[in-house]
């Protein structure tokens, strides 16, 4: 392929991925509300379209036509900028997920991933922390005390759980001896998924993932019963929609990340890889929603304690054990 062709192919590929993921995001918002409804003995949205399937369209319509205002006490520039940061970070992280391997389709070579960075895992972690800056800045820039408290909580939570998440992944990285997500996925293909050799790391990862995406029981930044909505209290209209988009996108992406690291990524028999990955992501998302339906919210200080005194020691221990096992040569 000529360089021009490559660029065109990449643009098309990118558009397809973004399109698919954004429809998945729309689907996820309905699916979550429907599922939560069922978990709670009610129906969930059922007015917009058949079975409420057009609810995301209704939501978008509603949010777009709402008044877009900036509170008088806000820092106007940061207030506008803040909601964009998490969306950009989430979309950027998308390029790292291997949705499948290299395929020969329609006479051309199609790689079902955006980029294969040799330090993909690190970049992913960096991007996912970057998203939290939007929340923190937005909370601060609103000029509202509740938002400020929410932002402060988010900042603290980010620091604690980013470490736990990073450490939980180290075991996987040690086994596959690569920081490239594509390599990690390929290592598991046809072999043993890393969830089987790193179960503790998987649990720690899942907990940290819930914390990273600010969902119950870790939704302290918004905690609607304490801080009303925390960092996004003053946001409305499209800016609020952007925060929501980022939240759900990062939920999907972190599930994809988890599926790649621990569940073999696109690995699976008979069906094409991206379908397998989609199924695995769905399972993880279901778990996230199930947790949300069941658990109450942590208290701020307990959350910190849990992160620093439980998760980090466990994942460190996990690394130690992995290192010993690898050192003794069991892995090969």
């Amino acid at each position: 392929m000529t360089p021009q062709e490559t660029v065109v192919a990449m643009v098309i590929q990118g558009l397809i991925v973004v399109g698919v993921v954004f429809s998945a995001f729309a689907g996820l918002t309905v699916a979550e509300r429907k599922l939560l409804g069922r978990f709670q003995a009610r129906r969930g949205p059922n007015r917009a379209g058949p079975f409420g399937l057009l609810q995301p369209l209704a939501d978008i319509g509603k949010l777009t036509f709402k008044e877009d205002f900036i509170p008088a006490g806000a820092n106007r520039w940061l207030f506008r900028l803040a909601p964009m940061i998490p969306v950009i970070a989430a979309v950027a992280a998308l390029s790292l997920i291997p949705f499948g391997g290299v395929h020969e389709w329609f006479g051309t070579t199609v790689t079902l991933y955006g980029t294969d960075l040799s330090v993909g895992v690190l970049v992913f972690l960096a991007l996912s922390s970057l998203g939290a800056y939007g929340l923190i800045l937005g909370g601060w820039a609103s000029g509202n005390k509740y938002s400020l408290l929410g932002a402060a909580r988010n900042a603290a939570q980010l620091v604690s759980y980013e470490v736990a998440m990073g450490l939980s992944i180290v075991g996987v990285v040690m086994i596959s001896q690569s920081l490239s997500l594509v390599d990690i996925a390929n290592d598991q293909a046809g072999g043993i998924w890393y969830i089987l050799v790193q179960p503790i790391a998987f649990v720690v990862f899942m907990i940290a993932a819930i914390a990273e995406t600010n969902r119950i029981p870790f939704d302290l930044g918004e905690a609607e019963s304490e801080l009303i909505a925390g960092y996004n209290l003053e946001y409305g209209s499209v800016k609020f929609a952007m925060f929501m988009t980022a939240e759900y996108l990062s939920l999907i992406i972190i599930s994809a990340f988890g599926a790649t690291l621990f569940l073999g990524g696109p690995d699976g028999p008979w069906l094409p890889g991206f379908i397998w990955l989609g199924l695995k992501i769905s399972v993880l998302l279901f778990i996230f929603i199930w947790v949300r339906a069941t658990l109450p919210r942590f208290r701020y200080d307990r959350l910190m304690k849990f992160g620093w005194k439980v998760l980090i020691p466990i994942s460190t221990l996990n690394i130690l054990v992995t290192a010993i096992v690898l050192g003794l040569g069991f892995a090969n």
Partner: protein, 455 residues
């Protein structure tokens, strides 16, 4: 960039107005601002002038020297998702630690006590049910019992049993709302929906018996306005049979949940003596180890005939309050079952033509009954002069009604001692030193109902 650089803003700021009001009120009486007024006046400065005035009126801020950590004042409510209605808490925060809480109430004040003085005793029933809207049967029960005491009137056995039945169902319904909303406030969403599912069945039953789901006027002076409808007992029995499993479900979701325990155990503890001194009653007091339950201590409407325990705990923390209330739900079911099994036959309202409306069928043929009916409805019955204070155990504690009569057809004075009003005073001592998140848990387990607090 600092916050509040936008300069003076136009418009009406109710809070700024409140600050002025407080100072005016104090000036009129020629006194200094009281602590509560000072906090209300200083809570939020919206304009530079306001900020200067705030500094003048608020000693705490006037004392703020450079380097001294200033608390952050936040206004929780009157419209806030977890303040149970229109409770406003002005919270001084040091980081996330609560230094001081000042509850401000009165946003739902409707002057029910004043209105009662201008209605007949009979019409008063419809007013008092609306106070504590989660326990309407307790409200009317206290009211009608105090009027009955002034009249020295005997209530037939069946009416007493029906009252016990509905009061206990009401306790169950009220605790369900408490459990659901508390769960929601601490982030446990599902339990809220489960509790409301069951509570709705209770409201259905209330509708079946009284015609209204919430603000019943079913208890009348002398008994109940109607007999139980056919099929009611069977429905309630079916309900009591499935309810224990439902309570097991709530407990499965919460009791053993480590996060739930984390939020509740050891949070909001006051020793029993202090709670008593604050006048706190009900499950909050019982969770601190004082078995003060009027159904046992001073049995009324035949509670002495039923076998039930008064659940208590010794810890006095939020978790103990939670456990006590959940166990109370089971005890209420036990009482309901006993009432259903032993419901006596007989009239449901006393036969006292000077007070109770004559039976409807008599209006068709008895001139005397018709005259009584006209007199009772248009003028109301008279109550001998005197005063009576009757207290019953509402879901939230001691619900008292102090009725003063001057011998006329209207109450001279009705005062309702609402447990929420008194219990709410414990908020500040319970919350001090805890985290903001604890405040939510504490207010949730105090279970105030603002309709009752403000009356």
């Amino acid at each position: 960039m600092t916050m509040g650089t936008a300069g003076p803003r136009s418009g009406n700021f109710p809070i700024a107005a409140e600050s002025r009001e407080a100072r005016e009120a104090a000036a009129r009486d020629g006194r200094a601002l009281t602590p509560t007024e000072r906090i209300i006046a200083g809570v939020e400065a919206r304009t530079p002038e306001e900020a200067i005035e705030r500094t003048l009126t608020n000693e705490m801020l006037a004392d703020a020297r450079p380097g001294v950590r200033q608390p952050m004042l936040i206004n929780l409510g009157p419209n806030h998702p977890s303040t149970h209605g229109v409770l406003r808490l002005i919270v001084e925060l040091d980081g996330e630690v609560v230094r001081e809480v000042t509850p401000v109430i009165g946003y739902l004040h409707t002057g029910i006590e004043k209105q009662c003085e201008n209605k007949t005793w009979w019409q008063g029933i419809t007013l008092v049910t609306r106070m504590d809207y989660l326990a309407p049967f307790a409200n009317i029960k206290a009211y009608t019992m105090s009027v009955e005491r002034l009249l020295q009137m005997e209530v037939p056995a069946r009416a007493q049993w029906i009252r016990v039945l509905l009061a206990e169902m009401n306790r169950l319904a009220s605790h369900l709302v408490w459990l659901g909303t508390s769960g929601l406030e601490l982030g446990a969403m599902s339990v809220f929906f489960y509790c409301y599912r069951e509570r709705d069945e209770m409201l259905d039953l209330f509708e079946m018996v009284s015609g209204e789901r919430m603000n019943h006027r079913y208890f009348q002076v002398g008994g109940c306005s109607d007999d139980l409808p056919p099929g009611f007992i069977e429905r309630v029995r079916a309900f009591t049979e499935e309810m224990p499993a439902r309570i097991d479900d709530y407990e499965a979701l919460l009791t053993g949940n480590p996060i739930w325990k984390d939020r509740m155990v050891g949070i909001g503890v006051l020793p029993a003596e202090q709670l008593l001194a604050l006048g706190v009653t009900g499950p909050t007091l019982r969770a601190a180890g004082v078995p003060y339950d009027l159904r046992k201590v001073a049995p009324y409407s035949g509670y002495q005939h039923f076998e039930f325990d008064v659940p208590t705990a010794t810890e006095g923390d939020c978790y103990a309050r939670y456990l006590v209330r959940v166990r109370e739900m089971r005890e209420s079911l036990r009482i309901i079952r006993q009432v259903l099994d032993g419901m006596p036959e007989g009239p449901v309202i006393a036969d006292d033509r000077k007070v109770v409306l004559p039976p409807r069928e008599e209006l068709a043929y008895s001139m005397e009954a018709l005259i009584h009916h006209f007199k009772l409805v248009s003028e109301g019955f008279t109550v001998p002069a005197g005063e009576a204070y009757v207290a019953i155990e509402s879901p939230r504690g001691e619900m008292g009604c102090y009725a003063v009569s001057d011998g006329g057809p209207r109450p001279y004075r009705i005062h309702m001692r609402d447990p929420s009003f008194v219990n709410l005073q414990a908020t500040a001592p319970l919350c001090k030193g805890g985290y903001l998140a604890d405040l939510i848990a504490i207010v949730a387990t105090l279970d105030p109902v603002m309709g009752g607090v403000d009356r």
